[in-house]
Amino acid sequence: MKRSQMEYVAGGGLIDRRSLLVGGIAFLAASSIKPVAASVNEGVKRIGDDFPVWSRTLGRQGTTYGQPSIHEKHLKLKLQLPSAPENSGTTGWLTPLEKLHGIITPNGLHFGSHHFGIPDIDPDKHELLIHGLVEKPLKFTMERLLRYPMISKIRFIECAGNTAFNALSPLSHDGSCQDLHGLISCSEWVGIQASLLLNETGLGKKAKWVIVEGADGGSHSRSIPLSKLLDDAIIAFYQNGERLRAEQGYPMRLLLPGWEGNTSIKYVHRLEVVDAPAYTGHDSGVYTQHLSNGQIEGFSFYMDVKSVITHPSGKQILEEQGFYEITGLAWSGYGKISKVEVSADDGKTWAPAQLHGPIIEKALTRFSIPWHWDGKSTVLLSRATDAHGRMQPGRKEWKQRYASPTFNHYNAIQSWDISSNGEVENVYV
């Protein structure tokens, strides 16, 4: 297939997402095959001479808990802002999205946002209590809870403050995808449907809200509408097959799919069923937004539709012109992703990206589109739409709704500038 025969679908070198599936893209393959020199002394030859050291030595023993390859040492969470020592218990750890693929975040690399440090809770001394407007207040030991029927869901968690840099900073911050978008991760969560436990207590007629509390130092608590807990909330014990990490709420956490991460209360130990919200500290301050009309908006639970191109992305360098696969992640707290469009010419023209299955509601969805970079400077953008027709706004549109210094719930389109020397940088268009 000659270049002229390939199907370009939009400006800037975007190639029809189906062309790879059909004929392949031929212009790269020709250069990658090297001739092999014939050996002179065939008789005394040891085949090992032609093999790398790891093919000529016995490998090492396994370990009791697998670790990433020694060559992947760079794969790390990153502390969001090195904070003052006085604030050391209040931290955000960012996931290196641009170094991962697929939709599942490895457990050790799940982002973490901690307001009161990370407790090490003894599961034998941890109970779940449900009381308030119920007929029978109940407590559950861990041992008992683990006997309940479990459900499994792949769901993302995103911190309300993800991408705060782009919301706040008047000039675009030159950060990596991890720096700018790393407060989102996606896992398979296994646990008990919260409705099951709540219903066993005999919910009162006036029950409408539940104050959910963790067992960490600050007893983190949020007021949650009962309807959400009865709908799709999970009391989760397992993450990607193993018990939760301490950073993620061991021995158990609440999971509220699609809602701001702060409401998925870690170390959950108490559900108080009530008729009205408590306006806890985090209902009131940090997790509210200033609107441009002067109002303060709280209980803004849903994480709206959003996407980001992870490859190529901020701080990366394209070594040469030619073929690249543009790929990234899209998600919506309202449901499934229905469409992701990509532009490779500053947003002038757009083409649909391939969505890779499984496409799951309130989970990350991987998208990709083949791209031929001609070595000229350009801007890459992605724009997601969900099954409810919600589409990502531009940055200007988003800013119009909120007053500075609001930084929560930023979901505007991300644009990456590609310079003619291949440097990728965050820009506002």
């Binding site: 003052a84 006085e86 604030n87 218990g89 209040t90 009161f116 209590l129 449900i130 009381h131 029978k136 207040p137 109940l138 407590k139 559950f140 030991t141 008992r144 006997r147 309940y148 029927p149 705060a164 008047p170 000039l171 449907q193 099951l196 436990l197 219903n199 066993e200 409408k208 809200w209 104050i211 130092g217 600050g218 007893s219 608590s221 509408p225 108490r270 108080e272 009205a276 919200p277 408590a278 306006y279 806890t280 500290g281 209902d283 009131s284 301050g285 940090v286 509210t288 200033h290 609107l291 109002q295 303060i296 908006e297 709280g298 209980f299 803004s300 119009q400 007053a403 500075s404 210094p405």
Partner: protein, 206 residues
């Protein structure tokens, strides 16, 4: 065949509900009752029930003064929240550097001047004064949460309210008058989450 099965199943389910069997079958209906919880007694509840509500529900007995609060604040809080509650490095407790508009020529300077935690404050953002008592008692001081007595918490709450010009220097705060303190954010606070009957779970200030 499938229809017959469904019918049998419905009868079976109906039967269960008539006899009042609590253990039904997992995975078929989603309606499972396992009942492995144990009863929770009133005294167990009252020991851990620390949430305070805007109408004053669950506020404990006791009281505290601005004067007492000031002493405690200097000793236990100012290292992180600043002498006047504005300097940080931890969250600002009073005042703000203001909301700045997109058109504000000083916006860049003002954003760069402070870290995000010091732009707005407890006094400017929280709609109810009761939440301050709740939060301080459960979470502060940050390095030693839940170490304050109820009276100390009332005093510190009173002092934070005083720093925000919401009570005077001689004020004494208790469970009767705390819910009545009107926070400036109360009028500006709106809920993004709306129930069908949102009106009746919005809490008017007493």
């Amino acid at each position: 065949m499938a229809k017959l099965k469904m019918f049998m199943y419905k009868v079976f389910k109906w039967g269960l509900s008539v006899i009042g069997l609590t253990v039904s079958i997992t995975g078929i209906t989603g309606e499972v009752s396992v009942n492995l919880g144990s009863p929770l007694t009133e005294s167990e509840i009252s020991r851990v029930s620390i949430t305070i509500f805007p109408n004053g529900h669950n506020l404990p007995k006791g009281q505290g003064s601005v004067k007492e609060g000031e002493k405690l604040y200097v000793e236990l809080c100012s290292a992180c929240h600043g002498e006047s509650g504005t300097e940080g490095p931890s969250n600002r407790l009073t005042g703000s550097i203001g909301l700045f508009s997109f058109m504000d020529p000083l916006r860049i300077m003002r954003i760069q001047e402070v870290n995000g935690l010091l732009v707005m404050s407890t006094g400017q953002q929280w709609p109810y004064a009761t939440s301050i008592f709740d939060f301080v008692r459960r979470a502060m001081p940050h390095y030693k949460p839940k170490s304050l007595t109820n009276n100390e918490t009332y005093s510190l709450t009173a002092y934070i309210l005083y720093l925000n010009d919401l009570v005077n220097k001689d004020a004494v705060i208790d469970r009767k008058n705390l819910p009545g303190v009107e926070m400036p954010a109360f009028k500006r606070y709106v809920r993004a989450w709306k129930n069908k009957s949102a009106a009746d779970d919005f809490i008017p200030r007493p």
